[in-house]
Chain length 330, copies 4
């Protein structure tokens, strides 16, 4: 596949996002609405069948089975599927991953995650198409906030803690704006991992006054790491019994993997666009490598991440709809 | 009962705390060890029977039934029981209570609570008597962190949200330092309230690197309030769609009830000692009023708060020990 | 001038920056070294004479007289000169400007400014070309930190407070790394404005441990505004006697002028690249308008800003070199 | 002198403060008004002549000469004079002193100080006796904010940097509320120290919206320390090129001198009352030692600190009134 085609394909696959990223957000979001329908999954499938790489918004589709089919198809075709977990492109996520891998936290005990904003505290969907599809099961599938926001910190935990496996989970969900039922605008998910660690995800769109509230805190026997997407250039490293340390993007003391994507000196804030750009760069490298039959040179949110997000939402919904009971994760 | 007796009784009842508050903490804590044994409940009982008011550390005792007995006895004797939920003495807790009562948050939806420090990330109890009794079921009863730290933000929620009633709860608890089993050093508790709101308490002593991590965030349909015990002179008030506002202790815009206990101008930080002092003042007023057969002029953590703390821990433990299942709250 | 030429010119004029912005910063900065020599001013002059618009790093040149000549030349040629005060592209700077213009602060009394980082606490220039030219009078002109960092918050004050005029100033400067003399790595500048207000700029490259430390606080009779470039999506608005309010980029309560440049919803952090991009957009609009003989539709850092920066540094140096005495500003 | 007398004397000398610290602040402050008149200095003198130790609010008196006389008298009588620089009682001030003494910051270069609140942004003195005397030269002497707030961080710098000597200073002061003239409600003071370091004090009562704004940042060749009185339990330690570290009161990694005054475990906030209490403890120790002809066992704000504060204000005023010129410090 020629580089020119690749770029063209990227352009097409991402145009929903690009429209969003340009001025004139309203119309961009209206276009995004059309793309979240089940048609999204069909288009991804068609693209893979046509031998194209795919870069796709999450969730990929509505069921784990559909997601697994996409995975199989992508493997069969030798094409990549990139999933737009944009926050994972921030450099300090990479730093956290390396520090945890190096054992700086000790054995992992607890993973606290949340993405809890307040923008949908009221029934704003009546006047806002970008919210409307999110609370329509036909468009959004079986969940709202679990899929829309909860999967983001979940994916960060997958990046930081690649060995961790969920053993079982329990989810309770609510529709505080009644018209959203059966889709939830708040959910708590408890998780037990196979190594004895526990985790929690708070997914919320009615956390009045919160801008984003996306945070992840990984707690080990010796130390914790905490990251907040509204201050993405800082990472708090807290060794028990020592002063908390604030790591800053771009500094020489970071792991090389956390410096590779820098464009500008430390102190200058990089924002979400740079994080997305880092992802696209990785998508492009992965595509190029796949075209040459080689593995991706850099980690990126791939089809496995996409499948895992769909699976997690499915399990959460199953638990919640059964009365917030524990369900085995498989 | 003469004022002199009252003061003497106060002195005796509180001497564990006072010792703690003085220099020479080690020995003070050793004395506290003796007082947390079941003897504590017996002494409280004996004091009430002797016609004395009681000020007591929490938990009052190990079972709801014992707590109810103390309540009945106190009522019968016309004596008060003050429970040392010290953080509730901070003035901004009173401010939150008044703002919520005035409807400034709208209908309450979510209550997020946590007290999650990291000081017991390792098995420090081997060398530290103050930790030792906390992880010994004979001394501490059926729980460690649920009772020791979790009940604090729970009580703050009772102060701020006096109408809220727990309908059912679910708790999962872990002993990350294995030798602490069956007592937990981490617990998550999910709660459903009878009005449809939900809540959560994270109780933890292994949150490595966290100093205290006691926070409460009350989320309503219109706005949220958040308070953190490590910055007790600030209260964040976040109306959805408006800039977050940082309320400061001592300022004229606060509710009179939040100004009543001030000793010094705004800007000067008051700390935990002042909060405790505010409680003691309220205990003394309540004792004095009770001696004259009158109701307490100011709210204070009373026997009902004490009973509720014991009941909550009991339900959490029952849920956790049954496999982290939902249990009705009654 | 055709649009194509404009873009080409932009590309050329900005390539130092673009190189800097790309991967491979080291080499990019080496190229920048060449461009800061007096050649920069000659090139700008030549470009204007050739009928090209100019976008230029600051300082434009070494002396006010040179800067005035450029201004006259640009006016004569009908070409614009854009100066890369990149932080001024952050949307909340526009918000501050509008709030001050609307009288929300009351009469302005004090302007506190600083840009005080710590990256040059040691003599890093020995091994770092990007620092080397900054401390070489032949390349950097008569000052290091006054021009390199101090002019940034100074320009923010010009944007926020367009009516304010400096009446006299006093500057003291130091070379804590001795080899940098006569150029300073720290300077304090006091300013008196013609309306009775006072201001201060702390320019520093040896503020050990500080990432950037670029802040501006504008204090009026009723309220203050504070902005920090490391958290550019927040603006603190503090009315005396009311809770401080944290304004967030992208929110509907902002002035339309502060929303015009948004690309993405509130909560998502935009960083320095977006701020620069906002400037470039304004440069392009200004160029296009100039080509049609019209005024620029949006404010941008223009030749007046460039002249003012050079003039301020010149006065600071004159004051400092005369023993830190007051000098009239003209 | 018997212990009983000592305590009685303490009670009397401090009753202004104690009244202030109790409920009923208004009346307490009215009493303080009487004590700030020149009578204060006469009373201190009389007390020393009568063989009493003195604990005194600052400024001790209006002129350096008067202060020196008190110093001579105290020395002659063998009595101590304690000056109530209350913030200096916070434990982390002691930590900063020890870290600087141990060379952890490298050679000291810059000392940034400020105490800049906003409570007197308007002419509140009309209705507020506690402000009224502060802006009356007959009561307050030759300055308002320089003496009232500026001397506080100045004293912190004396504690942290006992070797530093001011060589010359320059002060500019303003009366933004016109009726306060000749007393200032804002002042900037620049200082040169004899070792080549520079410093700055911002004294302000019209910093609208600021609660206190008392901060000190000590910058060395290797690292900086920063402390803020509104968060007195934290101390930021920033080594250039390393993550900033947040030191917390009460932690085992602190210097023993910073732990000596603790009453309660780390994480629990101690406030201004505890800081004052630490001072009183030190005053009492010093009195007791003086009674036995011995030196004070612990550092406390003594007559030298009192003299220095008066001297600094005197020099600031002299500089300001001469047109904000440099004056030699002696």
């Amino acid at each position: 596949m020629a580089r020119r085609q690749l770029v063209q394909m990227l352009d097409q696959a991402l145009d929903g996002w690009l429209a969003l990223a340009c001025r004139g957000r309203q119309s961009g979001r209206e276009r995004a609405v059309e793309r979240r329908a089940p048609a999204l999954q069909q288009k991804a499938k068609a693209a893979l069948q046509a031998g194209l790489h795919v870069v796709c918004e999450k969730p990929l589709c509505f069921t784990t089975q559909q997601a697994e089919e996409l995975r199989a198809l992508a493997a069969c075709q030798g094409r990549i599927v990139g999933v737009t977990y944009g926050y994972a492109g921030h450099q300090l996520i990479e730093q956290a991953r390396e520090m945890i891998a190096a054992g700086e936290l000790g054995e992992i005990r607890i993973v606290q995650m949340q993405f809890a904003h307040g923008f949908h505290s009221a029934a704003v969907e009546a006047a806002n198409p970008a919210t409307q599809w999110r609370v329509d099961p036909k468009m959004a599938g079986p969940s709202y906030v679990l899929g829309d926001v909860g999967t983001h910190p979940l994916y960060l935990s997958e990046v930081m803690l690649p060995q961790l496996r969920i053993k079982r989970l329990l989810c309770t969900r609510q529709s505080f704006v009644k018209s959203r039922a059966p889709l939830e605008d708040n959910a708590f998910t408890l998780m037990e991992y196979d190594n004895g660690a526990v985790g929690q995800v708070w997914s919320c769109a009615v956390n009045a006054g919160s801008m984003h509230g996306q945070k992840i805190r990984v707690i080990g026997a010796k130390a914790s790491l905490e990251w907040w997407d509204e201050r993405p250039n800082q990472l708090s490293f807290e060794v028990q019994g020592q002063p908390a340390r604030i790591l800053e993007r771009g500094m020489g003391y970071l792991h090389p993997a956390a410096l590779a994507d820098d464009r500008i000196g430390a102190g200058h804030p990089e924002g979400l666009f740079e994080a997305w750009s880092n992802l696209y760069y990785r998508f492009a490298l992965a595509m190029d490598a796949a075209d040459r039959g080689q593995p991706a040179p850099l980690r990126y949110p791939d089809i496995d991440a996409g499948v895992e997000g769909v699976r997690w939402v499915e399990h959460c919904v199953r638990s919640a709809d059964a009365g917030a009971v524990w369900v085995d994760y498989r």
